[in-house]
């Protein structure tokens, strides 16, 4: 079957109790033989001396004396012993001793009569109690047993051997011997007092060596301390030894098994084996073997350390086997700490504690706890196998009914000891209620509800204090109530002063009186209170339609706190003095109604309705009382607010109404309104709709009994901003020393504030002068006029120079800042007097010269004829042809540019982004232009204006929003024919047909060398309308195959000539070609020219 046939064989030890069961008589004899003898001094008779006389007693009744016969006396010769007392009694002598009843104190003469041997001789001695030794009978061991698991011996014996000596003290001596050498292991003394009865005594002894390891023997003796006995007292003889032994099995076994010991104690382990044990170890540590008997060995460990959960292993290695055992070293339980007892429901007491120091013992050796109430005597036990880590221990104690005071003792026990801690509690003061559950809310009306909940427990004897937390949107309220505890756990309270149609969240927690702990909060319960009728009518206003026939009623939705429910509809009715005229129902999302009224004097009432009923009506009179002296005021706000004030008006009886709207909206315009009480003189208007830079109209109405009167009209800004546009202005008139400028108003939307004035700048200057840009830098030549009269619309600038280009700039400003600028270039007229003088003097000089010449010629006509008209004039003498000649000769002195005193002209190259050319020359019939940056060769439609005559008027409109943008437009107006009629042309006259405006075509009429003309006509049919160079084009063509002329046929490049007619910032002929067009190498073209032109 299931036996661990470990190599250590089954224990074959048997308890060999070899009891000596001897007969009482034999025992008495033996004890008599082994008595200690006391030598009694005997006064021997002359006739013969008694040797070795000893008298003893074991019961104080009989003295037993023995001696050796005197020398010479034959054996068996004594026949009687006589004591010389009153009776003179004689006792027959038995063998070698005589039993004499105890004699009274004092000396007694004892005569021993010998019948034979010495012929009737006798011996005498004196006997006294003091010469008699008291030697108790040998005690008898009743039982000797052993508990091997605890290595404990149990010994029992009785005091029969000393029973005679009542009330005497007896000292017992017990000895324990152990094999193999019968060494004395232990001797103890044990004192008792005799009571006269046959008492059994117990003695227990725990061996340090397990009892299985060796045979143990026990013997006992006693010593009777009898007070009234005068003689010497002596120990009894040792009882026969009894032994305890273990029947060894065939298997080797180690002992003690599964012993629980205190950490730090000393302990001996042995191995009972039939074969040789090689080594012994505890855990990993080997210990020296102590040989017992046979093959049994032991090891001894001192100061054992705490075991792990499964215990410390002790292993003996035997030849071909092992034997082992486990010891559990730990601590006795610590005193339970932080013992705390409370109840949740007054039904059970829950006690918590902390176990303190770990014992190191688990499983069946783990600490168990007993909680005992000493008043009721009830107890509960806590037992767990595994150790709880970091967890407080808990026990539930069922409360006996009607008991309030408890004296609770918690006892911790484990195999190593026990400890306890106690607590005295009045349990009604230690109540921590459970979490309230089943919280329910019921409506009573729109402001009162009942709360009911379940709180498990029997609180009939105490009061509960509960806290109700009432949450509504954005607020929290706590309510403390005291309720009498009930047995059935159901509680109900009424909560009032709630708001109608409001979602509340209730939750509750409870404690008891006196306060100990709050329960946890119950889960929240949401509840919507029922609706009530709206507490107020809606805030109402009315506006007459623009035709004055219809009255539009506006009202604001009621705030939730006044609506008291969901507003379903509004009832609008109007009544005059006579009757209620009409009534209409408007469903909720709409907050206006339009009424067609016959008269203008009605009272309009508006009622809001929810499911609970209608609100009180809010009334408003339709009549608008006219006000004649109405002025428009201005106001500027702060932040998002605007403050309006007005003087108190006693006529206003009901209230003031301020309505406002965006001034750009059409009438009737209403953004919002605000009512203020009639006693106030100011109002702060605030709205999220207000935007800075937007003009609002505010109207203050006063309410009188008949109706509303408009008291004030205010225009205002929440915040003023700078205008976003510049005023449009034109030059009305120009003279030689003055310019008259006229401008227009800026629209309100673009003004963005109250107009505070204009700044007018003027400055001499041409267009595109970079320094023109900076107006604020305060150049001395910039003149500024600040026009603060906003009604002024014209300005004459005087003291100007004639025929000078001026730049004019106009800006508007508000308190929010300066607006953008708009600029224009104007050239003043020439001074007419100077002009006349300038014409008249040359004419006069010419006339005089003519007259003088005519006179001279008339007088010298013959000489002249001979000198000047003899022949056809020699062309070489003609200076006018000198230039042409030098060109023809290829001279490097290409003096054309220098020698021809030309009027400076402009070459303007303007870029445009739009497909429609924004820049054009209305005067030049054939625009010659290119878009140098975008296109290299194609798109002949995009032209560059080459102005030929000095511009008369230039207008520049600066775009402040896009000063540097590529879209900046510049316009050049060239008017050659009407030089005396300068005028500003708006830039949007761009759709004038350039051909229609054909005017000045000077190059076209230039006389051209006929030979050249013919070839040009053939090749350049398309370019005939174009500009003709004043120089002979042929001269270039001859030297340059890539000359402009050669590309003309492709219409890509319009031939252009006469470098002397161009006043350009760029030399038309590149510097490399300084000497001759020949050196150009054919790369010279207008295409190149424009492409090479840098971006300026």
């Amino acid at each position: 079957m299931m036996d661990v046939s470990l190599c250590w064989r089954p224990p074959a030890w048997t308890v060999g109790e070899k009891r000596m069961r001897t007969a009482p008589t034999l025992r008495r004899l033996l004890s008599a033989l082994t008595l200690l003898h006391v030598m009694v001094q005997v006064n021997s008779q002359k006739r013969g001396a008694l040797r070795d006389l000893k008298c003893t007693t074991n019961n104080l009744q009989v003295w037993d004396c023995a001696w050796k016969a005197p020398l010479g006396a034959g054996h068996g010769t004594v026949n009687e012993v006589c004591i010389d007392d009153r009776l003179h009694s004689c006792y027959p002598l038995e063998k070698g001793n005589v039993k004499i009843p105890a004699l009274p104190p004092g000396d007694h003469e004892v005569i021993v009569n010998y019948l034979h041997g010495f012929n009737g001789s006798s011996a005498k001695f004196i006997l006294n109690e003091q010469n008699v030794s008291l030697i108790p009978n040998t005690p008898e061991i009743l039982t000797l047993s052993a508990d091997f698991s605890t290595s404990t011996l149990y010994l029992t014996w009785d005091d029969r051997s000393c029973a005679f000596a009542h009330h005497s003290k007896v000292t017992w001596e017990i000895k324990v011997l152990r094999t193999p050498r019968m060494e004395l292991v232990n001797v103890v003394t044990y004192n008792t007092t005799l009571h006269g009865r046959d008492t059994v005594h117990y003695w227990r002894w725990t061996s340090d060596l397990p009892l299985q390891c060796a045979t143990h023997y026990v013997g006992i003796r006693c010593y009777l301390d009898h007070l009234h006995f005068a003689g010497p007292k002596e120990w009894s003889a040792w009882s026969p030894l009894m032994n305890i032994s273990w029947a060894p099995e065939s298997e080797a076994k180690a002992f003690p098994q599964d012993k629980v010991v205190l950490v730090g104690s000393n302990i001996t382990f042995c191995c009972v084996s039939q074969t040789k044990v090689l080594s012994g170890q505890i855990g990993k540590t080997f210990y020296p073997l102590i040989h017992l008997y046979g093959q049994n060995v032991a090891i001894h460990i001192q100061n054992i350390s705490v075991s792990e959960n499964s215990g410390t292993n002790v292993v003996f290695m035997i030849e071909d086997n092992v034997c082992g055992t486990v010891v559990f070293a730990g601590y006795p339980p610590d005193v339970p700490q932080k013992l705390n007892c409370e109840t949740h429901d007054l039904k059970d007491i829950i006690c918590n504690w902390n176990p303190g120091r770990p014992t190191g013992l688990v499983g069946p050796r783990n600490t168990n706890y007993t909680l005992l109430d000493s008043f009721s005597g009830k107890s509960v036990t806590f037992k767990r196998f595994e150790t709880l880590t970091n967890e407080s221990y808990q026990l539930l104690f069922q409360m006996p009914p009607h008991q309030e005071i408890y004296n609770l003792t918690l006892t911790a026990r484990n195999p190593l000891g026990q400890s306890e801690s106690a607590i005295l509690v009045n349990i009604t003061e230690r109540v921590c209620p459970h979490t309230p559950t089943s919280l329910k809310v019921k409506d009573i009306n729109s402001t009162v509800v009942t709360l009911s909940w379940h709180l498990p427990g029997n609180f009939a004897r105490i009061n509960l204090v509960c806290q109700i937390e009432i949450w509504k949107p954005n607020s929290k309220q706590e309510l403390n109530i005291t309720i009498k505890g009930v047995e059935n756990s159901s509680y109900l309270v009424v909560v009032d002063k709630l708001n109608p149609y409001t979602t509340y969240t209730f939750r509750i927690r409870c404690s008891t009186e006196p306060f100990w702990k709050w329960s946890k909060w119950s889960s929240g319960k949401r509840h919507l209170t029922t609706e009530a009728i709206p507490s107020k009518g809606p805030d109402t206003w009315r506006e007459w339609s623009s035709d004055g026939r219809n009255l539009i009623i506006y009202w604001k939705p009621l705030p939730i706190s006044e609506a008291n429910g969901k507003i379903l509809s509004y009832n609008v009715s109007c009544s005059s003095h006579e009757e209620v005229q009409s009534m209409s129902e408007i469903l909720d999302p709409q907050h206006r109604a339009e009424l067609q009224l016959v008269k203008d004097d009605y009272i309009i009432s508006v009622v809001a309705k929810n499911s609970a009923g209608p609100s009180p009506p809010s009334r408003i009179a339709s009549m608008e009382i006219p006000n004649d002296d109405l002025t428009v005021e201005q106001a500027v706000g702060l932040g998002k607010k605007i403050r309006l004030t007005w003087p108190p008006d006693p006529n206003v009886t009901c209230d003031y109404v301020i309505k406002w709207c965006n001034s750009s909206r059409s009438e009737p315009c209403l953004m919002d309104w605000k009512k203020v009480p009639s006693n106030s003189t100011e109002a702060v208007i605030e709205s999220d709709q207000f935007r800075p830079g937007v003009r609002y109209n505010f109207f203050l109405y006063g309410c009188r009994s008949q109706g509303y009167q408009l008291l004030r009209s205010i225009i205002g800004y929440i915040e003023e901003l700078a205008p976003i546009v510049a005023p449009n202005f034109t030059v009305e008139d120009t003279s030689a020393d003055s310019i008259l400028v006229r401008w227009e108003d800026i629209p309100v939307e673009e003004l963005r504030g109250f107009l505070r004035g204009y700044l007018f700048y003027f400055q001499k200057g041409e267009r595109d002068t970079p320094k023109m840009r900076s107006l604020e830098t305060g150049h001395s030549d910039i003149k500024v006029k600040n026009i603060t009269d906003t009604s002024q619309k014209t300005l004459r600038i005087a003291d100007l120079q004639g025929k000078t280009s001026y730049r004019l700039v106009l800006r508007a400003y508000t308190d929010g800042g300066l607006g953008p600028e708009k600029s224009m270039f104007v050239v003043t007229k020439e001074n007419s007097v100077g002009l006349i003088i300038a014409i008249l003097i040359p004419v006069a000089v010419a006339v005089i010269v003519g007259v003088v010449t005519s006179t001279l010629c008339y007088r010298k006509r013959e000489w002249i004829k001979e000198t000047f008209y003899p022949d056809i004039p020699n062309p070489e003498n003609c200076k006018a042809l000198q230039f042409q000649k030098s060109v023809c000769e290829g001279s490097n002195a290409l003096k054309t540019l220098e020698m021809n005193p030309c009027t400076p002209n402009d070459v303007e190259v303007l870029e445009t982004r739009s497909i429609i050319p924004k820049i054009e020359d209305t005067e030049i019939i054939s625009p010659v232009a290119e878009r140098p940056e975008e296109i290299s060769e194609a798109e002949p439609e995009n032209h560059v204006v080459v102005s030929y005559c000095p511009p008369i008027i230039e207008e520049e409109i600066a775009n402040p929003a896009a000063d540097d943008a590529g879209g900046a437009s510049q316009v050049v107006y060239i008017d050659v024919q009407s030089m005396c009629q300068p005028q500003a042309r708006p830039e949007d006259e761009q759709d004038i047909d350039p051909i229609v405006g054909a005017g000045y075509k000077p190059q076209m009429r230039l006389p051209i060398n006929s030979a050249v003309e013919e070839t040009a006509a053939e090749n350049d049919a398309d370019s005939t309308a174009g500009y003709r160079p004043q120089a002979n084009v042929n001269t270039w063509n001859l030297v340059s195959p890539d000359s402009p002329r050669s590309t003309d046929s492709n219409s890509e490049i319009v031939s252009f000539g006469s470098p002397c007619s161009v006043n350009s910032r760029q030399f038309l002929i590149p510097p490399k070609d300084d000497d001759s067009p020949k050196s150009n190498g054919g790369a010279w073209s207008f295409t190149n020219f424009f492409q090479n032109k840098p971006n300026d």
Binding site: M1, C7, D258, V362, G363
Partner: protein, 204 residues
Amino acid sequence: MACHRGWSLYLLSLLLPLLSPAAPISPAEPISQAYSLALYMQKNTSTLLQTYLQYQGSPFSDPGFSAPELQLSSLPPAAVSFRIWHALDDVERLSRGQEAFLALSQHLQLVGDDQSDLNPGSPILLAQLATARLRAQGLLGNMAAIMTALGLPIPPEEDTLGLVPFGASAFERKCRGYIVTREYGHWTDRAVRDLALLKAKYPA
């Protein structure tokens, strides 16, 4: 823990054929299933043994601890000479395996009980012992399925433990547990070989 649950499901699926009414089925399938299970068990036996020893304290937990001389009379040893093993026929092979795993499953229960006294605070060890027992029972069921498929009588379940020596000392319990977990590994190794042989004999 998840793998344990998954394993239980696997076992359930393995045991399902047993629950269905006996029908002549090919032995290949139950052999294959049993072989898979045995292979799976084989992967965890050394872990079980190591975990077990680790909780028993020195010298059990010392590295390289081995005590092959320790045996339990109630547990048939897995060690067998190759000649004898090879000479076994299918019936003997299967019935010895069944006998061993029946004993093992009972012994593993005993060891689990012992350890819940000695190491109550070691859920890992207790869980591994419980799992090993479950697997032994699973393999037992698989072997029964093979025997059914081969038309062999299934030996009745025996109480191999008999009278449990409840008074065994802690040391005896530790040794007993060691022998059981060790033999569990040995028997699993042997079962893998047995089943591999059978698998080769009854190809799918």
